[in-house]
Structures are given as structure tokens and as C-alpha cells.
Symmetry: C2
């Protein structure tokens, strides 16, 4: 089977942890211990988030007196692909000796006409006083918005259209390599009328990018791995309950936008709808159990059980 | 032909330039304009330096109050592989439409027993007052040495033994991809007795790594591209003169250690001696002319002319 798995940036730097290299590298080793068994029997593409990591580098860059202008988000995203890609590469090589591992730098194509550019909503970087935020907006062409008591920069989160290096990833998979890519959703780029790519100041949702990639690679399974065991129905209410099995239609009838689960549910449903294959959302530590149908929230097309893994309904 | 070319970090961020992203990205576009013609008719592996870039990120990391300990040099090197790799990837894709380009994160194996670890000589990062330098050495396990009036950290520069991802690079080349790798000489790693890789605080010479890689890939030509047109004999003396053609023996009879040319000459000679193939040192802008034997310093085994390109002696 061909598995495409997305690893949350928060799984690599947990809330409250110092962003020290040693802390993150140890988290990566733990993540890879959970994921490597998937690669022993299957083709595996691993993508990863970079939210906390890009935040750290953005602050460093914004306070760097050597720079006239802080590094833009495409460049910062590429830096995190290098850093996190290195940790994942090394941990995978150490866990899967004899297997080729390719950690590649990659870009994700978005549309310059995406409405997200006209209505940016993703808060990024530091919190400023209102006046300072407005000065920076003037100086640097930023859009800034109030975020609680402070003001912050906002950028658009356009929909990913395609991972530019899809053909390369397919080639690597076909040759037996485990592939690490699409870090932070991929470096966002647009293509002009002459075909040239250029970076844009935007943030691409890594789960949506992973879904688009999984589709393009004809993956059998899309796994979205995070720090919760299941999608929760009626989250935070007295009668909340875990969703063990679902169809895209059953999930889309509910509202998951409140938590951070919304984009994950969207990405998983999109993959199942477009391909008819299986998606799952669950804990990183449960990766093997999820594939066997024993953990996580498993999403299949209506009425389809018995796909990859043991998908018979559970008690 | 299979060409392995090394691009100097100073070619991507020239002395006196601000390390802004826009400046570096424009330099990369210029570099790629000079190099892309090589890829039109040949297999091409492109490596690059990262000296100025890793210096910028090291300073950012050292002044980051979010971190208990600044990022170590393996992690900083990986960040620069992501950043510079992204710029090169995009510029190559824009210049060579229809060609696959792979920018990979990679590691370079060094020996834990390398004498360079016992006698570190490479100055890195900030200049401190003596007392502060000694405090930091105590706190962080650094070795510090006087560098002129100030004190700085020193790390070892062990000899590269092998690019860990050599097999992957060969696979990519064989499939027709242009490969960007070995940024900053590769992230330095050691292998313990159980076979596990781990990063080390060291700096690997990117020209030596490129030479080792070119040999392992059975390259026909190793090109070391920098900002001077030729190796200079008797550099800085009244009778200095450019070296147009040389053999390893003729170069090794002279002393190039004074400038930054020493490691480049070593790396080029090593490749020619071990493989019997051609190496060249010259300006990035002259890449095509160097391959045609019309520019640069061209190094071939004793008495061998008429190898790749036009290698007949020039006037």
C-alpha cells in the first residue's frame, strides 16, 4: 500500500516546551519510532507541520539587526523544511537501516487569484501595540489585525493546488525510498503567465496540501496524525463523543470549525470523496493501530468497509 | 557527461551585501543563469557553500531569548540547506522548464576520531570579549580562541568521508533530475558502533565534500566555482600569474594555503588524482567557458589533454 501521513507541527514541539533543538530532535525520534513500522511493509510519504517552528524563526528574523527586512514567510518555511527535514531524515535512517530516505525541499502551487489573499486571516509572528503594528504595515506592506488585546500581522491561507515536485516524489517512492516532503504545507508559490514560479507571503494548510499530494500520488491511505486519539463529535459539550468511523457526508453534517480539527476533517473528507480511498485522523503514537482499524477516526466512502487494514466496524 | 559543480557561499552573498532574502535570491538567479546551460546537455549536481548564511542564522539563534541553548551547527546548517536549496530549486525550475529538479537535505559522514575535533581551528559566530568568551565556553562546552583582538568560538573541520545520501543522488541523476545537495558541505554526522547517525558540532569544507561526492558518483568533471577567474601562482607578489592548466603534482609543489584557495586546490587535486578525470576552478559566470576549456584553471592528470571539453593547451 501507498501511505501518505501528515505529522502535526505540535507533535514535534509540544505546547509549553522550549523550542530548543534537543527537545525537538527527541520528539522527532519518538514520532519516527511510531511511524517507521508503516514503512517496513508499505510505501510511505511523510509530511509535517511547522507552525511553532516557523514562529520561532520569524521572531529571530524580525529582531535581527543585520537584516533590512525580516525574511519573508516562503524563506522561513524553507528554513524549517531544512531543519525538521534533517531531524526526520536522520531518525528514519537510524530506524530503517538499509532503506533509502529522501528529505526534499518543495513548493506548493497556490493561485494568485485565491480569495484568501484579499481577506487574510492567519495570524503570524509577534504581537504589537496597535500603533507599532500600523507603522510596520505601512513600512512593509503588511496587513495587520487586532488579535485580542494586541495587534498582529495576518497573511492569507490560500488553498493548495498542487505540490510542484509531485513527479519527483512519485519517482522516489517508486524506487523504494521513504519520502519526507511538504513541510509546513510546502513553500507557497504562484506561477505567472510565463510559467515562472515565485514565492508568496502566505501560509498553506499542511493537511490540505497532504490531501492534494496523496490524491496526486494515488495513495491508498491518507493519515493525519496529531495529539488527539479521535475526532470528537460535539467537542467540549457534556455529550461529546469520539467518532470511530465516518463517511465524508456524516462529518460534513457537523461543525468541527471550532477547534483546530476543522481543516483536518476537511482534508480527510476531500481525499475520501475524490479518490474513494481511506483517510484517518488520530494520534501519532497510534499510527500502526490506525492502519489496522483499531484506533483513530476512520473515514471511508459511504457503506465501504473492508478496505485497507481491518475496517470492519468496532464495538 | 556527469558534472558536479560547487558554488561558493560568497557567490550567493557577496562581501558587503546585506543578507536580506531579496539580495540572496537575486544572486541565486544570476548563478543559475550561468550554470543552467551545463544542465541542458549534461547531468548536473550542484552543491553550495553556506558560510555567510550560517553566520547570520547563528547570530539570530544566539540572541534568541526563546532558546535555552542556541541551535547547534548541524541544525543551523540544515536550515541553510532549506533556505538556499529553495532558492536554487526555484531558479533551476524557472530556467529549465520540463526538467525535474531535486533539492535534498543531506548529511556528510565524518570520523569521530578525526584529529580536527581535538584541534578545532574554524572560527564561527560572534566576536566576544575574552571573559565572556570563557564564560560561554564553560557554560556551553565550547572551545574558544583569540581571533585578533576578540575571542571567538572554534569548531573542528573534519575531513568528509562520504555523503550519506550518495545512493539517492545517483538514483536521482539517473532519472534525469538536476540535483541540489551537500549545502554547506552537508550536515556533519558521525556513526556510532551500532550504526546510528548523529549530528556533530563541526564545519565540513564544502569543496572537499563535493570532491568526495564527485568521486562516488563517477563524475566526469568536478567544477569549483567562485569569484576569481583563475588560481593565482605567487598570489599577492609582484610576479603573480594565473594558472591556466595544471596537474595535481604541479599545484601541490606550490603553497596556496595563504588565501581561501588552499582547500579548493586540495579538493580539485584529490579528485583528479583519485579518478584520473578533470577538475576546474574558476568564476561562476565562466562555467560554460570552463567546461569548453576556455576559462578557469583546469587540472588534469599528468600529460592528459583532450579529455572532456577542449583541453588542448592554450596560448
Amino acid at each position: 500500500m501507498r501511505i501518505v501521513a501528515a505529522l502535526g507541527g505540535n507533535a514535534l514541539l509540544r505546547r509549553g516546551e522550549k523550542p530548543d533543538a534537543s527537545v525537538q530532535a527527541a520528539n522527532v525520534v519518538r514520532a519516527v519510532a511510531a511511524l517507521a513500522p508503516l514503512a517496513e511493509e508499505h510505501e510511505l510519504v511523510l509530511t509535517h507541520g511547522n507552525g511553532p517552528q516557523v514562529g520561532v524563526l520569524a521572531l529571530q528574523s524580525a529582531s535581527d539587526p543585520q537584516l533590512t527586512t525580516p525574511y519573508p514567510f516562503d524563506v522561513l518555511g524553507a528554513q524549517t523544511q531544512g531543519m525538521i527535514g534533517y531531524w526526520l531524515l536522520q531518525a528514519l535512517q537510524n530506524t530503517l537501516p538499509g532503506r533509502q530516505v529522501a528529505a526534499i525541499i518543495n513548493q506548493t502551487l497556490v493561485s494568485a487569484a485565491d480569495p484568501a489573499f484579499g481577506n487574510p486571516t492567519k495570524f503570524i509572528g509577534e504581537v504589537y501595540e496597535e500603533q507599532r503594528a500600523k507603522e510596520l504595515a505601512e513600512q512593509r506592506g503588511w496587513t495587520v489585525k487586532a488579535d485580542g488585546a494586541g495587534w498582529r500581522r495576518v497573511v492569507g491561507s490560500p488553498r493548495p493546488q498542487r505540490v510542484v515536485e509531485t513527479r519527483l516524489i512519485r519517482l522516489l517512492l517508486g524506487s523504494g525510498a521513504v519520502v519526507v516532503c511538504a513541510g509546513g504545507g510546502g513553500v507557497p508559490v504562484i506561477r505567472d503567465e510565463t510559467g515562472r514560479l515565485s514565492g508568496v507571503e502566505a501560509v498553506v494548510d499542511k493537511d490540505l496540501t497532504t490531501s492534494v499530494l496523496a490524491e496526486a500520488l494515488d495513495a491508498d491511505v491518507l493519515m493525519i496524525l496529531t495529539d488527539v486519539p479521535h475526532v470528537l463529535r460535539r467537542y467540549g459539550q457534556p455529550d461529546e463523543e469520539p467518532v470511530l468511523r465516518a463517511t465524508p457526508a456524516s462529518l460534513q453534517a457537523e461543525d468541527f470549525a471550532a477547534g483546530s480539527m476543522g481543516p483536518k476533517v476537511d482534508a480527510a473528507c476531500r481525499f475520501v470523496e475524490v479518490t474513494g480511498d481511506m483517510a484517518a485522523i488520530g494520534r501519532m503514537e497510534d499510527a500502526v493501530a490506525i492502519l489496522e482499524g483499531r484506533a483513530g477516526t476512520i473515514i471511508t466512502p459511504r457503506g465501504k468497509y473492508g478496505g485497507p487494514g481491518d475496517l470492519s466496524p468496532r464495538h
